[in-house]
C-alpha cells in the first residue's frame, strides 16, 4: 500500500533535504522549528492489464457511444496525441500513447476504416525528431503511417490547413487543424501528468493556431490564472479554454477523448534515491548519492545532460478513461489528485524549490534561464489548490545553476528574447504589448518552427507568461547557485548558498520566517487550507 504524502515539521534531528540543482543535487539543512517539507505520496499501484483496461475504456466510454459504434467504412478518422513534452522523464517503452493508439487502430481496422491520419498535437512546441515519434508511438505505427504521409505533426502556421470553428461569447476565435476539424471522428489521446492538462485544453491548444492560442496564452490571462493545478474557476486560462471547448463541441467534429493518468514512479535505479525520504536512505542510497553528485561535479555539462535526458522513467498507468471530454476529464482529475494531492495547513513566508534538469519545454535539450523561471514560477509554484504555498509578498528560493546557455536548434527565439526583450522589461503584459507580435511574425522563426525542430518564435513569451502569477505574487525571487548576471537579467536575486539566500530573504520576510520546501520529485499538488 503506497503511503500518502505528508508534511514534515523540521526539527534538529531532521537530516538535510534533497534539492535539485539542474543536472546535479545538493543536500540543504533547513532551519529547525520553523521549516516544513512537503513530501509527495508514493507511486500508486498501476493497472496490471493495461491493454485490457484500454480496451474496456474504449468499449465502455463515459457519456458517449462505444468507439466501435462511431467507426464506419469510408469515414475520415483523425487520431491526435500529446507530444513528448509529457511525461517527464520520458517513459520506458512501450509508451502509453502507443498502446492506446494501437488499440484504436485495431478497432478502426475491424470497422473497415481506411482514411486514418495520426497527428502530433504540438501547438507551438517544436516538431519531434523521428526517434521521439518512434518512442511515443512505437516502430509499428511509425513504419506503417509515416512513409505514407498519414502520420505528421500539427503546423500552427500552415494557414491553408487551419479551419475556424467559431467564436466564444467573449470574442475568442477557435481555429484548429483543418483535417481534425473536417473529420467524422477526432480521437484525442492524452497523458495527464499534471491536473492542468487534458480536457478541452488538449484540442484547443494542441491542434490550435497561433491566433487561437494567443487568446488565452497572454500576460493578462496568466496573471489572473490563480493556480493551474487547482479549481478551474480560479484559472482564467482554463475558463477561456473551456469556453472554446463549448464552441468545439457545438461546431466541431465529433470528439472521442481518451485520457490516461500515470503514477509518479519517475526515476529508475540507480537514481531512485531521489524520490525517497532522506531518513530512509540506505547505506547504498547514500553511497549512490555521493558517487553521483561527486561524479556530476566533474562531468562536462553536455555529458551530464545526456545522462539525465537518457533516463527512462518507470511510470505506469493508473487509469484510462474515454468518452465525452468534460466527463472524462473529471474522472481523470480524480485519479491525478489521488496520486498527487497533499493537504497542507497554512501558507509560508519562504518557499524553497529545487529546479531539475528538465521541464516540458526542453525534452532532450537545455534548461535555459527562461525555462528555469518557467519551471519555478510557472509549474512548481502553481502546484497548489486553493491558495499558494507562499503568502503574498513572500520569498521564493530556487536552486539551479542558471547557466546562460541555449539550445540553438530547439530554442532560437529564446536567445533573442533573452538578449533583446528581458533587458527591456520582465513585465509579461508590457512585453506582450511591445514585443510579442514581432517575434510571432518573424519569418525566420516561422521557417525554423515549420521545417526544423524549433519552438515557435513566440514560445519564450509563453514560457515567461507561465510564471506571471508567481512573479506577481512573490515579494522576491532568489536563485541559489545561479550565474549572477543571468539571474539578474531575469529580474531575480542571485545567492551563493542557501544560508545567503535566507539572509537576503530576511529583508522581505524578517529574521525568523517560516520556510516550506516542496520536495520534488515526485510531482505533488499542495491542497493549502
Amino acid at each position: 500500500m503506497p503511503r500518502p504524502g505528508f508534511v514534515l515539521e523540521v526539527d534538529r534531528s531532521t537530516p538535510p533535504v534533497l534539492f535539485w540543482r539542474g543536472e546535479n543535487f545538493s543536500l540543504e539543512k533547513l532551519p529547525a522549528g520553523r521549516s516544513r517539507v512537503i513530501y509527495p505520496p508514493e507511486p500508486l499501484k498501476p493497472i496490471d492489464d493495461v491493454d485490457g483496461a484500454i480496451r474496456h475504456a474504449l468499449l465502455n466510454p463515459i457519456d458517449q457511444d462505444p468507439l466501435p459504434a462511431l467507426l464506419f467504412p469510408g469515414m475520415k478518422l483523425t487520431i491526435a496525441f500529446d507530444d513528448v513534452s509529457l511525461p517527464l522523464p520520458k517513459m520506458q517503452r512501450p509508451d502509453t500513447r502507443q498502446r492506446v493508439i494501437e488499440a484504436v487502430l485495431d478497432m478502426a481496422a475491424d470497422a473497415g476504416v481506411d482514411d486514418v491520419h495520426i497527428i502530433a498535437a504540438l501547438g507551438l512546441h517544436r516538431r519531434m525528431h523521428e526517434y521521439e515519434l518512434r518512442h511515443a508511438l512505437g516502430d509499428r505505427i511509425y513504419d506503417a503511417f509515416h512513409p505514407r504521409g498519414m502520420l505528421y505533426q500539427h503546423d500552427a502556421e500552415d494557414h491553408g490547413n487551419l479551419a475556424v470553428l467559431g467564436e466564444t461569447a467573449h470574442g475568442e476565435v477557435l481555429e484548429i487543424n483543418k483535417r481534425a476539424a473536417e473529420s467524422d471522428l477526432l480521437v484525442y489521446v492524452n497523458i495527464n501528468s499534471v491536473p492542468m492538462d487534458g480536457g478541452w485544453k488538449s484540442v484547443c491548444t494542441g491542434l490550435a493556431s497561433y491566433r487561437c492560442l494567443s487568446e488565452h496564452h497572454n500576460g493578462h490571462t496568466l496573471q489572473h490564472t490563480r493556480s493551474l493545478s487547482g479549481h478551474r474557476e480560479h484559472s482564467a486560462l482554463h475558463q477561456s479554454i473551456w469556453r472554446m471547448g463549448k464552441v468545439l463541441r457545438d461546431n466541431g467534429p465529433k470528439l472521442f477523448q481518451i485520457e490516461t493518468s500515470l503514477n509518479t514512479d519517475m526515476f529508475p535505479k540507480p537514481f531512485d534515491f531521489i524520490s525517497k525520504r532522506e531518513w530512509e536512505w540506505t547505506a547504498k542510497d547514500r553511497a549512490t548519492y555521493l558517487a553521483t553528485t561527486k561524479s556530476l561535479e566533474r562531468t562536462p555539462l553536455r555529458l551530464a545532460r545526456k545522462i539525465f535526458h537518457g533516463i527512462q522513467a518507470p511510470h505506469r498507468m493508473t487509469s484510462v478513461q474515454a468518452g465525452e471530454t468534460s466527463a472524462v476529464h473529471e474522472v481523470t482529475l480524480e485519479h491525478v489528485y489521488r496520486q498527487q494531492l497533499v493537504p497542507v495547513e497554512g501558507q509560508t513566508d519562504v518557499l524553497t524549490m529545487g529546479i531539475p534538469f528538465v521541464c516540458p519545454y526542453n525534452p532532450d535539450g537545455i534548461m535555459n534561464p527562461i525555462l528555469v523561471m518557467c519551471m519555478g514560477l510557472g509549474y512548481l509554484f502553481n502546484m497548489y489548490r486553493n491558495k499558494p504555498l507562499v503568502r503574498e509578498g513572500g520569498v521564493i528560493i530556487l536552486t539551479h545553476p542558471t547557466y546562460r546557455e541555449f539550445h540553438p536548434v530547439h530554442h532560437p527565439s529564446y536567445i533573442d528574447f533573452f538578449e533583446q526583450v528581458l533587458p527591456d522589461t520582465t513585465d509579461p503584459v508590457v512585453m506582450g504589448q511591445k514585443w510579442e507580435k514581432q517575434y510571432a511574425e518573424d519569418e525566420w522563426y516561422r521557417h525554423l518552427y515549420r521545417t526544423g525542430n524549433a519552438y515557435h518564435g513566440v514560445h519564450p513569451f509563453y514560457a515567461w507568461y507561465w510564471g506571471a502569477h508567481g512573479q506577481q505574487w512573490a515579494g522576491k525571487v532568489i536563485i541559489v547557485g545561479g550565474d549572477a548576471p543571468t539571474v539578474r537579467r531575469l529580474g531575480f536575486t542571485p545567492a551563493s548558498t542557501m544560508d545567503d539566500a535566507f539572509e537576503i530573504a530576511s529583508d522581505v520576510v524578517g529574521r525568523s520566517p517560516t520556510v516550506t520546501h516542496l520536495h520534488v520529485p515526485a510531482l505533488l499538488v499542495a491542497d493549502v487550507s
Partner: protein
C-alpha cells in the same frame, strides 16, 4: 561357369585357417568366463518362455529430467551465452521485434507467467533463434518441443538436444498424453515452451497448416500462446540444404492469446494461425496494412498460393525479394527537386 559363381574350396580352406588363427586367442581368454556362465553371462532363455520387450528409451520416451538439473542448466547457460549466441549472430543476424507486446508480463519478473511460444518453422535454425530472441524472464526457463522421431531417435542426439536446447521429445503426429502431462508439469514449474504448430520444417519454403499442439497444450495448461513469426531462416538453412548460407532474419512477437471460455482446440488453433499469418504480413508490409487485412481475413496465407509446381516456387522467390529482411525499412532516398 560354375567356377565363376563362388570361391574355390582351396580359398575357403585358407580363409578358415585365418579365422581360426584370429579367434583362437580370443577363445582362450573367454574360456574361463564361458565356464562361469550365469550370472557372469547373460541368462539363457528357457524354451517356450516369451521375454517381454524392454521399453524404448528413445523417441517420445526419452527421459530429459536430467537436463533440468542445476549442473545441466549451468552448462546450458554457458552454451547459450557463448557459442550459440555467436553462431546465431554469424549465421542469421536476427532483428527482434514486438517484444514490447510482452512488456506487461515481463515486468512481473519472477512472477511472469509461463508462456507457449508458437512460431512458424522453416529451419533447424529457428530453435537456436528462439533461444536467443525470447526475452527475459522467459529465456532462462525455456524448453523446446522437438520432434521425437528426429531429435531423439539416437541416444547421442537426444542428449545433445536436451542439454543444449532443453528439448522435450514430442510426437509430431499426436500430442500424446505422456508428453502433455510432462509439459503441464513443467509449465506449472514455471517453464515456458517453444512449440512449432506446423509440426515440422517447411518442405518447400512456404508454411504448413497448423496442427493443434500449441492450442491443445494452452487449453490444458492455462498458459497463454504467443504467436511468433520467423522470417529469413528458410533461405539460410532450409530443409534439404546441406550447409547454411549466412543471411539476415527477423523474429516478430505478437500479443499473447488465451483460449476463450469454451473455445475448442480447433478454433483456438485457427486463431493462433491467423495471428502468426498477420505477423507475417506485418513483417513484410507494415502494422496497419496487416491489421486491416487481418480484419477482413485477407492476409496472404503462410501456406502460400493454392497453385502447384514452378509457379508456387516462383511466388516464393518474389515474396523473399519483398521480405528480404531490412530492405523494407530502408526509405527510398528522395532528392529535392531543384527545377
Amino acid at each position: 561357369m560354375a567356377d565363376k559363381q563362388g570361391p574355390t574350396p582351396a580359398a575357403l580352406r585358407r580363409a578358415a585357417k585365418v579365422g581360426d588363427a584370429v579367434t583362437a586367442p580370443l577363445r582362450t581368454v573367454l574360456k574361463p568366463t564361458a565356464k562361469l556362465g550365469f550370472p557372469y553371462r547373460r541368462p539363457t532363455v528357457p524354451r517356450g518362455v516369451e521375454v517381454p520387450e524392454e521399453p524404448s528409451k528413445l523417441g517420445a520416451d526419452y527421459d530429459t529430467d536430467w537436463a533440468r538439473r542445476p549442473l545441466a542448466k549451468a552448462a546450458r547457460t554457458v552454451i547459450h551465452r557463448g557459442p550459440l549466441q555467436l553462431a546465431v549472430s554469424a549465421l542469421a543476424d536476427p532483428e527482434i521485434l514486438g517484444t514490447d507486446r510482452l512488456d506487461d508480463l515481463a515486468r512481473l519478473d519472477d512472477d511472469a507467467p509461463p508462456l507457449i511460444f508458437a512460431p512458424n518453422h522453416y529451419s533447424h535454425l529457428d530453435t537456436l533463434l528462439m533461444s536467443v530472441a525470447v526475452p527475459e524472464p522467459w529465456r532462462g526457463k525455456l524448453m523446446v518441443a522437438a520432434a521425437a522421431d528426429y531429435f531423439f531417435d539416437k541416444r547421442w542426439k537426444g542428449a545433445a538436444s536436451a542439454l543444449a536446447l532443453n528439448a522435450l521429445p514430442i510426437d509430431r503426429e499426436v500430442t500424446g498424453r505422456k508428453s502433455a502431462d510432462l509439459i503441464r508439469r513443467l509449465i506449472e514449474d514455471g517453464y515456458s515452451l517453444v512449440i512449432y504448430p506446423e509440426g515440422g520444417r517447411s518442405p518447400d519454403g512456404w508454411g504448413q497448416e497448423f496442427k493443434g499442439g500449441a492450442a491443445y497444450l494452452s487449453i490444458r495448461t492455462g498458459a497463454a500462446v504467443v504467436p511468433v513469426f520467423i522470417d529469413g531462416t528458410g533461405a539460410i538453412f532450409g530443409k534439404g540444404m546441406k550447409r547454411p548460407k549466412p543471411g539476415t532474419s527477423r523474429v516478430v512477437f505478437g500479443r499473447p492469446l488465451r483460449p476463450e471460455e469454451g473455445e475448442s482446440t480447433r478454433r483456438f488453433n485457427a486463431r493462433i494461425e491467423a495471428a502468426v499469418t498477420a505477423l507475417g504480413d506485418e513483417s513484410l508490409t507494415d502494422f496497419w496494412t496487416a491489421r486491416q487485412r487481418a480484419a477482413t481475413r485477407t492476409n496472404p496465407k503462410l501456406t502460400g498460393p493454392e497453385y502447384h509446381g514452378w509457379r508456387r516456387q516462383w511466388a516464393l522467390t518474389e515474396q523473399r525479394k519483398v521480405g528480404d529482411v531490412g530492405v523494407r525499412r530502408r526509405q527510398k532516398r528522395r532528392w529535392p527537386d531543384l527545377g
